[in-house]
Structures are given as structure tokens and as C-alpha cells.
């Protein structure tokens, strides 16, 4: 097991492509996406409808250095489009250890 940062991001589905291209730039390969999430925040209620303005929940496990880069990259997006980003500690059960 390896200590990692667990980054949890909630953003609008339409912003997803943007965030992934930031991850690519930073060199973070792995992430998990749960689509069709709803929620409420400063910008009111959001839910999956035919307008497709739902949220996605993205989870990224990465080392501390990468986490810092991800946070820096995500901050302006959150500022502009809303959403949240939580960071916590976790142990990663690595495949080969």
C-alpha cells in the first residue's frame, strides 16, 4: 500500500473534457468518472435532464506532487464554472505490492 492523495471533483458534464485535457497536460493518467450526478451549491440545483446540465463526480488518486498540480489547474475552472474539489488522504492498494 502506498499513501496517495484522493481528489474528488464535482463539475458540470460539459466541463469534463476541459478537466481531462488539464490532467493530460499534467501527466495524470488515472481517473474515475461517475456521470449523471445531481446536486446543489452556490449556483442552485443541478440535475440531469434533457438539457444535459448535470454534474459528474470525478475521483483521482495520485501522489502529492501531482495533486498540487491538479489543484492549481482545476482552481480557475472551478472559479469560472462552479463545482467543488475535495482532497483527502488514502492508501492505494497497488496491483503489484
Amino acid at each position: 500500500m502506498k499513501p496517495v492523495k484522493r481528489i474528488e471533483i464535482v463539475i458540470e458534464e460539459i466541463e469534463l473534457e476541459n478537466v481531462i485535457s488539464e490532467l493530460d497536460r499534467i501527466g495524470v493518467v488515472g481517473y474515475t468518472i461517475v456521470p449523471r450526478a445531481g446536486g446543489r451549491g452556490e449556483r442552485g440545483v443541478r440535475s440531469e435532464t434533457v438539457q444535459g446540465l448535470g454534474n459528474v463526480l470525478m475521483t483521482i488518486a495520485c501522489d502529492e506532487r501531482q495533486a498540487a498540480a491538479v489543484i492549481d489547474a482545476i482552481r480557475p475552472i472551478l472559479k469560472r464554472y462552479g463545482g467543488i474539489c475535495l482532497v483527502s488522504d488514502a492508501m492505494w492498494v497497488i496491483h503489484d505490492s
Binding site: 442552485g44 440531469e48 435532464t49 434533457v50 438539457q51 444535459g52 446540465l53 448535470g54 464554472y81
Partner: protein, 324 residues
């Protein structure tokens, strides 16, 4: 003017049923994917029908319809923006986002209008379908331009990238691709082979529309809670802008394009209706500063029900007086 029985077409009744179900706080809910599936079906069906008709008509007529659609698509948002900024005194970014919705069209309203004409056995030209497919794009672009003007000079690198994306999006968003693609398909496919697929798109059409409007009725009523946020002057905008649009559309359909009653009504509906499927995500991207509660409540909660219940019969009456 128009009898009550005009209102009793199933399309409108289903919308009302959905609206009512939500008002009495029923737990009735459509799976979100069902609404998406229904709207895919409706767009393809509209496109195919349009395409089959287009294969029969002359290019000149099509060209002037395209020109009119571009004119409406670029012109209506400017009118809406002017009203919003000077009369409603809304901030420019929200005004830009809302304007784009009114330049574009609501396929659901358009199809309801077709159901309305059908129920009265009034025929219509097929050009309005092309206009439907075309009017999405200019509205998105003009919305972007207005927002960029409102921000003037603030456009940074990020902004430019978003703009590029959005112009791309304006021509490739799902509704546009489905409408234009299936229209082309309907125009070039072997007629004999098309006959095999058309029962699916013909016989089910009004039925699928009934379910779609049932869901849209619920969606519209869900927005009522946001009426307070929108405020009285914007609510007034939500019913006057369709009237302004309809007037422009009636004039365009009758005088510019020389359509009959049916075609004129459809052009009025194109102009009077506001998008609530393709434009909201585009404006969310283009103008994140704008509040979705405003533009969605106006287009889906105010203008859509207004057009379906009051607007269509009213515009029809006007079209009859003009072209009848």
C-alpha cells in the same frame, strides 16, 4: 378567434397533464434517458420528413428559406438583447445568454404546431423544417459575440479557446447534426428503401410527441419555483418576446417567403420559440457568468408553455388573417 376545441389536441393536453402532475407534486418522473431518446427520435423524424419533401422542391425556394432563417437567427437575439438591456435593465452577460435562446428555436414547440395544423387539416410548406435546422447555429454564435462584447477586452487566452470551441459547437451540436443529417438522408436515400423505415417515423410520431410533451410539461412546471428569482420584468419579457418574435416571423413567412397559412404559422413559431435543449449547454459554456436559473426558467418555464397553450392558436389566427 379560435374555439376551445383547438386546445383539445392531445399534444397540448399531454403537456398540460405533465404540468399538472408536477403542480400537484406527483412523484411521476420520466427517466432522463427516456426524454433524450424521445428527442432523438423526434429530431430524426422531423429531419427525414423535411428531407423527403425537400427532394421534391426547387432550390430557389430553399435558398430564400435559408436566407430568412439566417436573418431571423442573427436578428432576433439582437432585438432580445436590446429589450433586455434597455427595457428590462438586465446585466449584459445574462442578457447575452438569454438572447441566444430566443434566436434559436424549440423543436418541441415546432412539432406541437405541426400537430396543431394536422388536427385542423391545414397543410404547410416544407421549407420551415430547413429553417428549424439552420436557426440553432447563428443564435449560438451571436450569443457568444454579444457576451464577448459585454466583457470587452477581458477576453484572455481561455476566452479565445472557448470561443473557438463554441463556433465549432454551433455547427456540430447534436440537434443540428441530427436535423441536418437526417434531412440530407431523407433527400438522397433510395425512396423504396426509405419506405421501409418511414412507418417507424410516421406512425409513431404523434404518439412519441405526446410522451415527450408530457415530460416537458413536468420540466416546465418544475421551473415555477424559480419564478421569484426571475422577477416580474423578466417574466413579462418571457411572454412579450415570443409575441415580438411571432410578429417578425409572421411578416417573414407571409411577405418575405410568401407562404400559406400553415407555413406562415410555422415561421412565426420558429421566431417566437426559445431553445431549451441545444442552447442552454452552449450558453453555460460561453457565458458561465450567466445564471441558468434565468435562461432555463424563461425558455422552458415561461415561453414554452405560453407558446404551446396561448401562442400557437394566436399566431394561427394571425396567420389566417394575413394569408388565409
Amino acid at each position: 378567434m379560435f374555439s376551445l376545441s383547438n386546445m383539445l389536441i392531445p399534444a397540448i393536453l399531454f403537456f398540460a397533464l405533465g404540468f399538472l402532475a408536477q403542480l400537484i407534486r406527483s412523484d411521476l418522473k420520466f427517466p432522463p434517458d427516456l426524454a433524450k431518446a424521445l428527442s432523438i427520435y423526434l429530431l430524426v423524424a422531423i429531419g427525414l420528413h423535411g428531407g423527403i419533401e425537400l427532394a421534391k422542391i426547387d432550390a430557389a425556394g430553399a435558398l430564400s428559406a435559408v436566407a430568412a432563417a439566417l436573418g431571423l437567427g442573427f436578428g432576433l437575439p439582437v432585438i432580445a438583447y436590446a429589450i433586455l438591456v434597455w427595457a428590462v435593465r438586465l446585466d449584459r452577460l445574462n442578457a447575452a445568454a438569454i438572447s441566444a435562446h430566443y434566436g434559436s428555436v424549440s423543436a418541441g414547440t415546432f412539432v406541437t404546431a405541426i400537430a396543431f395544423l394536422d388536427s385542423l387539416k391545414v397543410s404547410h410548406e416544407s421549407y420551415p423544417v430547413i429553417m428549424l435546422a439552420i436557426m440553432e447555429s447563428p443564435a449560438i454564435i451571436i450569443g457568444l459575440v454579444l457576451a464577448n462584447m459585454a466583457r470587452k477586452g477581458q477576453g484572455n487566452g481561455h476566452q479565445k479557446r472557448v470561443s473557438r470551441e463554441l463556433v465549432h459547437d454551433a455547427f456540430t451540436n447534436g440537434s443540428v447534426v441530427l436535423l441536418l443529417g437526417s434531412m440530407l438522408l431523407g433527400a438522397i436515400a433510395q425512396p423504396a428503401a426509405l419506405d421501409k423505415i418511414m412507418p417507424f417515423y410516421d406512425m409513431m410520431f404523434m404518439g412519441v410527441l405526446s410522451l415527450f410533451l408530457l415530460d416537458m410539461g413536468m420540466e416546465a412546471a418544475r421551473r415555477i419555483g424559480d419564478f421569484r428569482k426571475v422577477g416580474p420584468s423578466l417574466l413579462v419579457f418571457g411572454v412579450t418576446m415570443p409575441l415580438v418574435g411571432a410578429a417578425v416571423g409572421l411578416a417573414t413567412g407571409h411577405w418575405l417567403l410568401g407562404f400559406g397559412v400553415g407555413g406562415t404559422l410555422l415561421v412565426a413559431v420558429l421566431a417566437a420559440s426559445a431553445s431549451y435543449i441545444a442552447v442552454p449547454p452552449a450558453m453555460r459554456l460561453a457565458v458561465p457568468e450567466a445564471s441558468p436559473a434565468l435562461f432555463l426558467t424563461l425558455s422552458l418555464g415561461v415561453t414554452f408553455p405560453f407558446n404551446v397553450i396561448v401562442g400557437i392558436p394566436l399566431y394561427f389566427w394571425a396567420a389566417q388573417r394575413l394569408a388565409g
